[in-house]
Amino acid sequence: MKKISSYKNKILTLLALLIFIGIIHFLEINKSQYSYQISILERSAIYAVVAVSMNLLTGFTGLFSLGQAGFMAIGAYVTAILTIPVDKRASVYYVNGISPAIADSNCPFWLALIIAGLAAAATAALIGIPVLRLKSDYLAIATLGFSEIIRAVIAAPQLDTITNGSYGLKSIPGFPNLYVTFGLCALCIFLMILLIHSSYGRAFKALREDETAAQAMGLNLFRYKELSFVISSFFTGVGGGLLAMFMRSIDSKTFSISLTYDILLIVVLGGIGSVTGSVLGSFLVTAGREWLRFFDNPLSIGGVEIPLFRSGFRMVIFSILLMAVVLFYRRGIMGSNEFTWDGLGRLIVSIPRRLADSIRRVTGKKRKEHRHNDNE
């Protein structure tokens, strides 16, 4: 029985993958027509990578870190420095000139992304040594602090010839095509999923459940915390690099604490401890933000101007929705569960029943149902 169902799972997954590739192909061909939607999807995919990496650290290993923006900044700047075409560099660094050390450094984007990830990972390895022995609240604040320090360093005038200070970096080449964008994002997420389901993933979960017991099971606390931190930061750095390629121009303001908060809220919405949740949450939040733009423009129904609808209202609605999730749906959409075809099947099958329940509740017919159940 098990063999058949896993066979079925594999077929369904393959089918979904083909549909997915088909959609990308369609979008690639009609790029100019759907450029708005495509940019939303690309941003969602990139945020999904960072969200999953944050979940790896927070949801699976239990380390509450708020340093994501800093590592993304490192990844973004390294990628930018290594990929801006050499001939364009003079115009980018027009104010202060470019440091000779990096003037000619150039490499293909995929290599730049790997180096970006490694740079972020190396920074994490260093930061981890003092920071990982702190208790959860202090860990959050310390990583937040480091994120701001990184940002200050990047914006410092002393490093103008490398980071271009407050002018930021532009003319970053974009993705050659959509396959690359989504392919890279999917690859990153896939690798993280493999890690989570491996023996090391189990070790991380043990750490989250009970540190003392994990130690008693032979897991060196610092080594495994550091491992999780470094790996998570690697992918966060790659995510930052992907973001740089998506945005084409970056500056230190892009990587403020708000970016970390955005990712955190995606993780919370999707469910701490669920990769599926983080991916779903990323698309929901990014698309939702755009859809909520509806609230930003004045609205009149039948000639009557509805008050409240003006610029900024969308973010207020968004914040309220997020507070609602935090207060009432603490476990997020997926809780700590992952996607399974069976689960999806059960969900679809239960929709008529859920609808009927809601209708009955509204029309007050529920009482009848209860009496029925008592008689059984």
């Binding site: 908060y261 207020v316 309220i320």
Partner: protein
């Protein structure tokens, strides 16, 4: 640098430090009782700034100031009731995330209501009057801030140590569950703590923005974070610690700006944080707690 200039900078530093100290106390009070980092505290401080702008446009200053204080206290109490109380039994991470959510909401609300453009902070005329003492010249508010801070801290210490509610606060921060079992009305104590913290934030905001002259929706987030660091530096849960932390922070920042490293003045705060977390994580005046296995 001449002595006068040096003293001038010291004065600026102490004044800034005083404002920071008042806000830091708010953090330390809430953390002491709830073990919660109230990320929204800095934004309450920011909202107090906006309240002042609107109050001053309708009332003379001696009515506007109490209105602002009251409004800020109400804001703090409402936030506690709506966003933190329901999560009191939830894991700590949830409460922290809620605080981040409230901070986010306040910032977006301010952007929506008041636009992202900086708004001019109203002047209370006599506060901006320049005084000269010796060779030092500064506005009254600059002289007033540290003095006011110390008075407020003294009153607070008397409150905490000599009154019944103060004892209740100390009991709850020591051992939440036992305090509840002893019949202390936890909700009242917590509400009171938030009220005091918000009041201090409002006063701090008055002193801070009078010198700054503009308010914008994000003017609370960075000072808020810095003041939290000041509280951690001094020992979270300790009021004298928060005060000392605030002054050290104010002086350090002013020193950096005076020496020409203004871009690092923000990062300075975090370097301070990292240092204290490495050397003495419980802060200058904090207590060590051992975990029982």
């Amino acid at each position: 640098m001449s002595l006068t200039t040096f003293l001038q900078h010291c004065l600026t530093g102490i004044s800034l430090g005083g404002a920071y100290a008042l806000i830091a106390i708010g953090y330390t009070l809430v953390y002491g009782i709830l073990r919660l980092i109230n990320f929204a505290h800095g934004d309450i401080f920011m909202m107090a700034g906006y309240f002042m702008i609107f109050a001053m446009s309708s009332f003379p200053w001696f009515i506007a100031v109490p209105v602002v204080l009251l409004a800020t206290v109400l804001l703090g109490i409402v936030i506690e009731k709506v966003a933190y109380r329901p999560l009191r039994t939830a894991p700590r991470m949830s409460a922290m995330i809620s605080a981040i959510g409230v901070s986010y909401l306040l910032q977006n609300l301010a952007t929506y209501l008041f636009t992202a453009l900086p708004k001019g902070y109203p002047e209370i005329p006599f506060l901006k009057k320049i005084f000269r003492i010796g060779g030092l010249s500064a506005s009254l508010v600059t002289f007033l801030t540290p003095v006011l801070t110390l008075i407020i801290v003294y009153v607070l210490m008397v409150l905490i140590n000599k009154t019944k509610i103060g004892m209740a606060m100390r009991a709850v921060s020591r051992d939440y569950d036992t305090a509840a079992l002893m019949g202390i009305k936890i909700n009242h104590v917590i509400t009171f703590t938030f009220a005091v913290g918000s009041l201090l934030a409002a006063v701090g905001s008055l002193l801070y923005f009078t010198d700054r002259m503009t308010v914008f929706p994000f003017s609370g987030s960075l000072p808020g974070l810095k003041c939290f660091v000041a509280a951690v530096f001094g020992g979270i849960g300790s009021i004298p610690g928060a005060v000392i932390g605030g002054f050290i922070l104010g002086l350090g920042e002013t020193a950096l700006v005076a020496m020409g490293y203004s871009t690092f003045s923000d990062a300075f705060t975090f370097v301070l944080l990292i240092i204290i977390l490495l050397i003495k994580p419980t802060g200058l005046f904090g207590e060590k707690i051992t975990d029982k296995v």
